[in-house]
Subunit: 333 residues, 2 copies
């Protein structure tokens, strides 16, 4: 079914307020969930909302906390998420990084002790709206084996890279694993294979069979050994800069919490050659779009390009919602 965007925001907001969240935080969190669904990222929109509420109810998320500035170390600010809502904390740090960038060309905000930030792209989109390039990433609990290992010991540590370009910015929002567990479960439910190898089966062979991967939990890093190395580095860098927990330390907790994140914003307006830079971006993205496709009838797009179309459709026709999940959410009212 399709739900009007404002209805979806309103329902989310009322539920969050009823769980003790302050009205302005609830409104923001509700909007971020609805935006994810409106942009087609259902896994971190409506579909993730029930888990967010249950994490509030179980105390993993402290609904009364918000990120606070802990220290300034040269060009770096360290913030403490105080185990508050991950989306609110990430939003605060995104805004702060953009504020610093407006003054200093670059803003670097590191956040420790926070919760899952839900849809990463939201923060890249906001930075871009404020005229900033964004470089942001988070660590996670151990959910991927290091290259050559049997058991999960590193995170899939999603990264967001965003570059302003009119109303169709470049938004690269990728985890260091080839597929998330949510995606593997979706393939399994749909009875389809992964489009490329997604992990290893019980015999240690690469496989596209989502059920085999869900069994071994040996998901494949992007670029095999390369993504494994990138994941380790992203984790250690973010936990050092923020002074927060590493993936290994998060793995010792009862649940995935107290994560470390970094928010780097670079203000395009600070550059005297901004016009030339905008032209460079346009020329590159247009050339990619105009690429001759490998197979006839296909189109080549840059990441984020399709989002505007999906968003427009959601605003016009309503936001797509899985019937069962939406019913479940309505019961939380």
């Amino acid at each position: 079914m399709r739900i009007p965007y404002s209805d979806m925001v309103s329902v989310f907001s009322r539920i969050l307020e009823s769980r003790g969240m302050a009205a302005d935080d609830a409104a923001l969190a509700a909007r971020l969930f609805a935006d994810a669904s409106a942009d087609g990222v259902h896994s971190h929109g409506l579909n993730r909302f029930p888990r967010f509420v249950s994490n509030i109810e179980s105390g993993i998320i402290d609904v009364h906390s918000r990120a606070t500035l802990e220290s300034r170390i040269g060009g770096i600010e360290r913030w403490n998420g105080n185990r508050g809502p991950g989306n609110i904390n990430a939003w605060i740090c995104t805004e702060r990084a953009c504020d610093i960038a407006a003054e200093n060309a670059i803003g670097v905000v590191a956040l420790r002790n926070t919760n899952h930030w839900l849809r990463p792209g939201n923060y890249g989109i906001e930075a871009v709206r404020r005229g900033c390039i964004a470089i942001m990433w988070t660590n996670t609990m151990p959910n991927m084996p290091p290259w050559g290992a049997k058991k999960a010991a590193i995170g899939n540590n999603p990264i967001v890279l965003a570059v302003p370009y009119g109303d169709s910015p470049l938004i690269v929002d990728v985890a260091m694993s080839m597929f998330s567990y949510g995606k593997l479960e979706k393939y399994s439910m749909d009875g389809t294979e992964c489009p490329v190898d997604g992990g290893f089966d019980e015999d240690g062979n690469p496989t596209r069979d989502p059920e085999a991967i869900l069994k071994t939990r040996q998901v494949l890093p992007i670029g095999y050994w390369k993504g494994s190395g990138l994941s380790i580095a992203l984790d250690l860098i973010v936990s050092c800069i923020s002074g927060g927990l590493t993936t290994q330390e998060v793995g010792k907790l009862d649940s995935e919490t107290s994560l470390s994140q970094i928010f780097i914003a670079i203000s395009m307006d600070s550059f005297p050659d901004r016009k030339e830079l905008d032209a460079k971006i346009e020329a590159t993205l247009e050339a990619i779009d105009a690429s001759e496709p490998m197979k006839a009838g296909m189109n080549v797009h840059y990441p984020g390009e399709g989002m505007k179309h999906t968003r427009d459709q959601s605003m016009r026709l309503g936001v797509y919602a899985d019937d069962a999940v939406w019913s479940k959410v309505l019961e939380m009212l």
Copy 2:
């Protein structure tokens, strides 16, 4: 054969001086080439030296130029490489980023109009030696098709992420393509397949056959569409920050030159909790090493771990050199 490290440095240095390079630059460039070979990165060590010299002779590299500071924009320095030697320029910017980081916790140096920086890891290793985390990348000429496209339009844009850890730091040094052209040529010469899919064949099917990929030049990005997106973002970010050419713009030149690079250093000493951070790094890297391997008899390592062993061996027994390449280099004396 194996050549004593100091002999290799001396030969490189004399050749570069004979091509007009100032003595101190020649000594540094020679050391960087020898270090790459000593650490086992032959493709960007000895094996690349003849091409470096021919690029000097053909004027792509201006042997008399060095990177110079162009402007300070808030927390960002923009440098102009003046088409000087890429390794000397990258070294200057690495040192500068570390100098700024020593004062400001983080140093951000953007470099435009430079040449190929040869072995990326060298700059990560130097930053780490100075107690800094390193985040550095370069763009390249178009050498990889964007996801779904037939022809190269994006770069493989290598990135270096480095984290200090005693004499075995974490050094992640990866391009956004699964295999470099050099590596594909090596597989082809050796008559072996790529260990995983490396590109597409003429029918548009993924393949491990290096010759098929060298024919289509459709190399595979790491993580398929993910690496394609990362490559586009890395290119646009680095060319905006530096004010330099994009991959697309480099592709219009007669040869691969006037590249854009970024050098971010974060000083570990600036953090009051440095001891705890060092302990976190140690715990993570030791846990990875201690991982149960997926297949019996294998070992799990973090990136950069094996380097010290190779380096020690090179210093003890001499640096491995391909006979034919070494002979060719000696003829340049």
